[in-house]
Symmetry: D2
Subunit: 311 residues, 4 copies
Amino acid sequence: MQDLLREIAEAAAAEADKGNVATYIPELAGIDTGQFGIAVATADGKLFSAGDADVPFSIQSVSKVFALALALGRVGEQIWRRVGREPSGLSFDSVLLLEREKGIPRNPFINAGALVATDTYLASSSPRAALGELLTFIRAAADDEAIHINETVALSEIATAHRNFSLAHYLASFDNLHASVDKVIGTYSHQCAVEMTCRQLAMAGRFLVDAPKMPALVSDERRRRINALMMTCGHYDGSGDFAFRVGMPGKSGVGGGILVISPSRASIAVWSPGLNPYGNSKLGTEAMQTFSHRTGWSVFGVPHRGQPHGG
Amino acid sequence: MQDLLREIAEAAAAEADKGNVATYIPELAGIDTGQFGIAVATADGKLFSAGDADVPFSIQSVSKVFALALALGRVGEQIWRRVGREPSGLSFDSVLLLEREKGIPRNPFINAGALVATDTYLASSSPRAALGELLTFIRAAADDEAIHINETVALSEIATAHRNFSLAHYLASFDNLHASVDKVIGTYSHQCAVEMTCRQLAMAGRFLVDAPKMPALVSDERRRRINALMMTCGHYDGSGDFAFRVGMPGKSGVGGGILVISPSRASIAVWSPGLNPYGNSKLGTEAMQTFSHRTGWSVFGVPHRGQPHGG
Amino acid sequence: MQDLLREIAEAAAAEADKGNVATYIPELAGIDTGQFGIAVATADGKLFSAGDADVPFSIQSVSKVFALALALGRVGEQIWRRVGREPSGLSFDSVLLLEREKGIPRNPFINAGALVATDTYLASSSPRAALGELLTFIRAAADDEAIHINETVALSEIATAHRNFSLAHYLASFDNLHASVDKVIGTYSHQCAVEMTCRQLAMAGRFLVDAPKMPALVSDERRRRINALMMTCGHYDGSGDFAFRVGMPGKSGVGGGILVISPSRASIAVWSPGLNPYGNSKLGTEAMQTFSHRTGWSVFGVPHRGQPHGG
Amino acid sequence: MQDLLREIAEAAAAEADKGNVATYIPELAGIDTGQFGIAVATADGKLFSAGDADVPFSIQSVSKVFALALALGRVGEQIWRRVGREPSGLSFDSVLLLEREKGIPRNPFINAGALVATDTYLASSSPRAALGELLTFIRAAADDEAIHINETVALSEIATAHRNFSLAHYLASFDNLHASVDKVIGTYSHQCAVEMTCRQLAMAGRFLVDAPKMPALVSDERRRRINALMMTCGHYDGSGDFAFRVGMPGKSGVGGGILVISPSRASIAVWSPGLNPYGNSKLGTEAMQTFSHRTGWSVFGVPHRGQPHGG
């Protein structure tokens, strides 16, 4: 595994086209696209990594996975009255289907749906308390008390969050937001600004790995369902392509991070800030395609016993 | 396994709400919704079944899986220039995204995309020759020469296929159909009218199971990718829900059949003609949910070694 | 004319179905739908009225006509870089086409386009100064210094303006709003809360009547063009129907008022707070249909000289 | 008037950018864009013309006006159960709103709505008989028995009418087509292939002019309403712009012809085969803008008595 990761990191370093950094969040616009890190936390408790796996980055939409887990913990399956479970087929901030479906977002991993999840775990708490709970959850998952929120990034996002404000007001116009728009956007923007390294994120993702030694933060059933949602909806209008190429549930963020789960084997984090046209990490997606091919960890073809590849 | 299937068939028989038969294909409208069959063909060569597993039914859109395999065999990955790989988020016969995306259907499992797949394997052949090839493929997969096309159903579909004619002409207006509209619709309607029993369909699905004794009709990589597409796009705008509830790749047809793949373990066919609001078999979907729960075969949480459930 | 108006007012009073009051603006929800007023200010300087023509009402979207005139006065034809001139075919607060057309609203009479017009006349002024200018314009047009803004209604609208906030942030996300969202919504909500009676509104509309004695607040060409926009876009997705039935340019408001222009003859104001399904005054629309039929003032068939009807 | 037309024709000849010919109808693709004709048939029975006013051209969608008049004659206002009266805000062959509105086209001047009108006047007749009736209507309106259908153009259109076939099947799938798709498309394509010169078309349009000596083929009310529809829907997604610039009801065709009505004054036909991006004649639209400006015939500002311009 260590050799594979090193090989992948070297291939990423050699790749000429590193994609383009998201420009709409000023704090992220200046990041060096030459960076690439990868880390794998396995079911039997090992942690492998290569490249810039200790450089902290803004997890952005990867946080939607933690937010959903927290919201499910708060209200359980009730949440599906307020948000759907279907791929949207459209970009992350589209309002088209929101209009068509009367304020019920397609799924919790597009922005509108994530705002509903944030509103759910925020409930009647203060943003500070709710974010405290989110950090507690992530730190417990990662077994790492150092994980924190980058306040500068959070404030930078709020200042330029017109599209999210638009979505939040749209939800509110359909009574699908309980807290105030300002509170929800404030909390959401801080949630997106959680900073982690690949090693931390791989550790934090272990609660979605179905293995005896993993942190048991959600029930078996809920874990499978979050994985299912990551598979069908985790990469916006590039979800089908990621499933096709990589074959594992994953959730990407505009900061260049991707969290990928091999259900019974490992939690994988990859990061490189240059994005492809779908808004997902270009080198990260390519790395995961190689990783999947080499390990045979696609859920769509579990390797034959006795074959050389695999964990 | 045999006990589980019998139990599931009994539960289905006891269920009061059996869904509603599709009315738009006259030949299907009169079918008794009280019927239910299930069959499982395992990686080690066994075949289990229960209920009406020997009653032939019209596979309808389940045929899109075979058509895609055949089209991939004909032109390989070139097909992705003419059809996408993303969930559509819309119903099976919507034109909305087709307009938005200039005649490139979202994926090969909605009707527009399936028409492109049919056009691809039809190529310059006659419809008769192309359908012969399709039957040869299916019979080889199922190891059963008795599988055939129900001509009455095929003609009934052509007579009422306005929506499919509309989609085909739409594709043709963007030069994304090479054969004539009449040929493509004729071939497609016959393809949908292939008749199989659950036992035959479970056998035919084995080419998508990643196991040494299975028929090797497509490459490893292609098999995984077809499974990925079945997971993200196999149930139209109910795909996310099926992944969420069942956690295995599947493809449903309006005739009430569903083909489900447990990648390294088995091919499963379930059939009951009453449909849920998405146009997928109601009892079939419920049966698969129970089956997944009881076997632990969701790809999103492979059962721990030593646990009692599993194949 | 006086007899005709009296007859129309009596017919309105006798009509059983008076439509439904808009409920989303609390201050308007309680209004008595039994009220009906009509007034006609003619090219030769006369003013006729009947019914509740002296009861003040909230002009709401009728204000978009004055806002457009003011914005045109400020930046001239430049405004068409930021807003279109086409009917939207959708409801007044739809975001669908806004997404499709990258933040350029379809026309200045749907809410998104009106926000751009407000932003244009607001420019770098304070909302107070800008609203002062708007009132100056309306008062000059109506020759009536008593016209004012109902502050209670304005504040009530701001408090429930989620959909407008959503549209404004959406515009801002495409850089099609120069002032802050809060300023624009604040100004817009006050603009909608201008209160007038039918007699005042009929007087205020005279600047759109092409006749020698009318107030010359806009150029000939601009007047014609505003009338053209009222014809094609003045009633949201009911614009075609209004043109079909009434045949004169008009602009309706959710407060139940409609301003209608007979280009060389008169400015007509009608008001009744109950709305039809398009969100336009039900009795007001019916009254205008009768009025058009009886006067022969449809622009689509100028009455033959010597015929009995006409002004 | 004669001088004005000559001046306009000279300006058109001098214009460098003549627009682009529609390429999707092979028979039209080769036409010389240097041609320009204009003709005006006035309420008092005069006929003026300039440029290539005697060159026959394919009237294409201008025929929708005659088809609507014929359909209204056949079933009266019942037709509005099958087709709307609202601008679509979308291009002439869009299916988007057709899906949204369950097979009811937005208006009779987009292709889908025109197919419903054709289906209506076709009713249970043979296409030959129905087209005979259409020609009888047009010849009576124009007082010219020489007007005919160009069979070569008609057949060329049928051969490439995939988009129209798609729309027709779509309508049929909602039971909004009574004759067979083939019959409707056949009839519609022949209707579009009616050939006229500007002089003939100006004469034929007189039935929409509200004046004593004009042919009385439709009632007063119906004439006004057809004019209203031409104003709001006559130029597809460029209708608002035409109303804004020209201010008269008009209907354009992809052959480069435009029929414009000055309700009580004249019927005007202009033709130049190069199109603007909306699919309307580029030089024709510009000529009508000049014509409207110079004559003051905009319905949105009837000229003051005593002013120099006007008919």
